[in-house]
């Protein structure tokens, strides 16, 4: 059994570890050591990290259904917020570095290119999750309503996977690996919900 106390005590460590890659990449970008097309590389790295963290949220959340790992749920909000941070940086990269605030162009891009539509939609749908992430909001909304809002994470996951799949040019192995992982998690959840006794699982 992992105690909640242990998790809570180490939250700052987890936070720093998760943020660290972004600091390193931004540092490399500013130093000019991200290769000859640094904007693309930075955008790719941030996007990929966001996708991995999104999956990590789902993994942690699934694992926390197992009774002796229950305390892991205390990490969900933290990882979720860091995921949003990476998605925000990824989008900033696109808006600022890639297209230098050419909003007319960006608007057209969002409408015309399905993978950008899905990517942008993922960002927008995460905003209500961020705003309702505080304890206060949870209380205000009641758990029932709050939970409904946070079901959006599943939709976001599907959109993000579509975004990655569609932007991949030839070798689709990588996006498909993520699809397999997410599908597995989905069945794991179903299994938990319908086929297990509550004594083992929460």
């Amino acid at each position: 059994m992992i105690s909640s106390r242990l998790i809570n005590k180490n939250k700052p460590v987890v936070l720093i570890l998760l943020l660290l890659p972004s600091f390193i990449w931004i540092g490399m970008f500013l130093k000019g050591s991200l290769g000859v097309n640094p904007i693309d590389i930075l955008m790719d790295k941030l996007g990929e990290m966001a996708l991995r963290l999104l999956i990590l949220v789902l993994v942690v959340s699934s694992l926390s259904k197992i009774i002796f790992l229950r305390s892991l749920q205390n990490l969900r909000r933290l990882i979720g917020l860091v995921t949003f941070y990476y998605i925000f940086l990824h989008l900033t990269c696109y808006v600022f570095l890639d297209h230098f605030f050419n909003f007319l162009f960006i608007l057209k891009d969002v409408v015309k290119r399905p993978f950008i539509t899905y990517g942008f939609l993922s960002f927008v749908l995460l905003i209500p999750l961020v705003f309702t992430s505080t304890n206060n909001m949870l209380k205000k909304l009641t758990f029932k309503v709050w939970k409904k809002i946070h079901y959006l994470i599943y939709l976001v996951t599907v959109l993000v996977l579509l975004h990655f799949y569609l932007l991949t040019k030839a070798d689709k192995t990588e996006p498909l690996i993520y699809v397999v992982i997410v599908t597995f998690l989905f069945f794991f959840r179903i299994f938990i919900k319908f086929f297990t006794r509550r004594s083992v699982l929460r």
Binding site: N37, I39, F100, R113, L166
Partner: protein, 306 residues
């Protein structure tokens, strides 16, 4: 404009010196070498390249041109071609000339190079992914080789084929694309004076990642048309298959002219990032070679024949 900091780049002169050192070293150790003879054909005169630059263009550095490549035979990452092409051996090299020609033959690259003279061509290269470079190529007009090949009148198109050596090209061990890579041109495109077969850049033999030892360069088409490491040239009477338009016909057509009016689902074709620059620049029709090539497509609907 954010440039790559200068300390990250091997100064061109240092690079040249390094190459010269290698040349001298290999001359001493090997003595006579054919590769030296080939090298001798290439020019080291950077000023000559700058003279060919069009307004608003600046040469990309050798570092940029040789570390950021799409050459899926070595892997799909931009750094794969420069990092995973050590095993590839482009010497000796011969090219099969076949199909609708008076007599098919195989020509060794050294023999071919004896029959032609190498020219400098500074061209813009526009990748379909929305980035571009300015590259000082050395090579010769494809038309020269076509003349040597003596095609029949019935030959209307040319198909090119890249070498297939999975033991030397790690990307070819995976089914990323159907190997070998093939590309094609219509005969008038192939005969156009801008179309060259390149054997070098920046005054040196092509590196493996750039398509050694012989590659096509068609500057008004997206980069993937410029097929690398060519082993066969086939004269045919019908439009031949080309790898990307075979794999995803909705995204890549046979012609694949640089054209900002033809929509692509993944990348904008309206603007491009010149490698080394921060702000994107507008993409020019036919990559800026419109006045020279537009007549080839006079009566064609370029939205249909993209």
């Amino acid at each position: 404009m954010s440039k790559i900091p200068s300390y990250e780049i091997t100064p061109y002169s240092t690079y040249l010196n390094r190459r010269k050192f290698i040349k001298i070293a290999s001359a001493i150790s090997i003595g006579s070498s054919l590769s030296l003879a080939v090298k001798a054909l290439h020019s080291d005169d950077k000023f000559k390249f700058s003279n060919q630059l069009e307004e608003g263009d600046e040469l990309n550095t050798f570092e940029e041109i040789s570390t950021y490549n799409n050459f899926y035979e070595f892997g799909v990452d931009k750094s794969d071609p420069s990092e995973k092409s050590d095993k590839f051996n482009s010497k000796p090299w011969s090219i099969k000339i076949e199909g609708l020609v008076s007599k098919p033959f195989i020509i060794h690259l050294e023999d071919l190079l004896q029959k032609i003279s190498i020219e400098d061509r500074v061209y813009r290269l526009r990748c379909v992914e929305g980035w571009s470079m300015v590259i000082p190529w050395q090579g010769f007009p494809l038309s020269k080789l076509i003349e040597l090949s003596q095609p029949l009148n019935s030959a209307k198109f040319i198909q090119f084929e890249t070498v297939f050596r999975p033991e030397e090209m790690p990307g070819q061990t995976k089914r990323i694309l159907p190997w070998p890579y093939v590309e094609g041109l219509r005969m008038d495109e192939a005969m156009h004076p801008l179309t060259i077969l390149s054997t070098g850049l920046y005054g040196h033999n092509l590196l493996n990642q750039n398509g050694a030892p012989l590659r096509l360069v068609v500057p008004w088409k997206y980069g993937f048309k410029s097929i690398k490491s060519i082993v066969a040239i086939r004269f045919v009477d019908r439009q031949p298959s080309a790898t990307w338009s075979m794999v995803t016909p909705s995204e890549y057509g046979f012609y694949s002219n640089v054209n900002n009016r033809v929509h692509h689902p993944r990348w904008t074709q309206g603007t491009e990032r010149r490698i080394g620059e921060f702000l994107r620049r507008p993409t020019l029709m036919f990559n800026g070679y419109e006045s020279k090539v537009a007549h080839l497509y006079k009566e064609m609907d370029l939205n249909k024949f993209y």
